[in-house]
Amino acid sequence: MQSDWLLGLIGGGLIGMAAVLLLLTNGRIMGASGIIGGLVDGSGRHDWTERAALIGGLLIVPAIMVAFSSGWDTHLTENGVIIAIAGLLVGIGTRLANGCTSGHGVCGISRLSLRGIVATAFYIGAGGLTIVLFKHVLGVI
């Protein structure tokens, strides 16, 4: 358990350093939903190569790490209906709110942005209530 927390802190530090590098070098905020969403809805057409390069690194580096070690599993539910509903909710929600865990959470809270703090409070609150309802009350997840 303690080693999980330590790995969390180390991995979190790497995520933070990634965000620092993007901010201080390219002057951009490392928000996953904004970077991906801009490619999907066309709003990020002018800098699509940078977005694609970031997504490429995000996809390829973990793939290489996983290829050279074992025991990785997302432990994702096998229920395709729930996965599809959750995917739609995450896609629509993050774009309506203009940010997700990385943009509002990491990059917003670290500059004491009120929007980032409020967004994080709402998505953590909604996530917690969803677990209570669907896991403990209804027992479907």
Binding site: T25, N26, A53, I60, P62, I83, T101, S110, L114, Y123
Partner: protein
């Protein structure tokens, strides 16, 4: 050069997500499960990521990025309905399966058909979001 930096940022981001355990949905759902077997790992991840960024934001004062003309504008003080509604919808989806946009990409190579299905439906949601936003804004606009 900006593309190369972006690729390195993505790689570092992905390595961090993998090492921290954020591509494991049981850890994410465990953090949200305050009435069950609560897992505090996500708090350590957020803390570890926010700390260097808080220092970096301080360094932006009166400076310019290395490869750009200016830093992002100061945060918008306005909250608005879209922020609250959107974050609530996002949180519901996040709670249901334990994946958010970053880890959805980072775990695609080993997430199986479920991970691919999540990504496809997430992209679909992102595609329809602007039209939905326009409709919501029209409803709230004064007549």
């Amino acid at each position: 050069m900006r593309n190369l930096i972006s690729f390195a940022v993505g790689g570092l981001f992905g390595a961090g997500l993998l090492i921290s355990g954020m591509t494991d949905t049981t850890k994410v759902q465990g953090w949200l499960d305050i009435f069950g077997n609560w897992d505090p790992t996500l708090a350590f991840v957020m803390g570890g990521a926010i700390l260097p960024m808080a220092i970096a934001w301080q360094m932006t004062n009166g400076r310019k990025p290395v490869l750009a003309d200016h830093f992002p504008a100061p945060p918008d003080p306005k909250l608005g309905r879209n922020l609250v509604v959107g974050s609530t919808l996002f949180g519901m989806g996040w709670g249901l399966v334990g994946l958010c946009p970053g880890p959805a990409i980072a775990s695609l190579s080993f997430g199986g058909w479920g991970g691919a299905l999540f990504l496809i439906t997430m992209l679909l949601g992102m595609r329809v979001a602007p039209a939905l936003r326009m409709r919501l804004d029209q409803q709230s606009a004064p007549v």
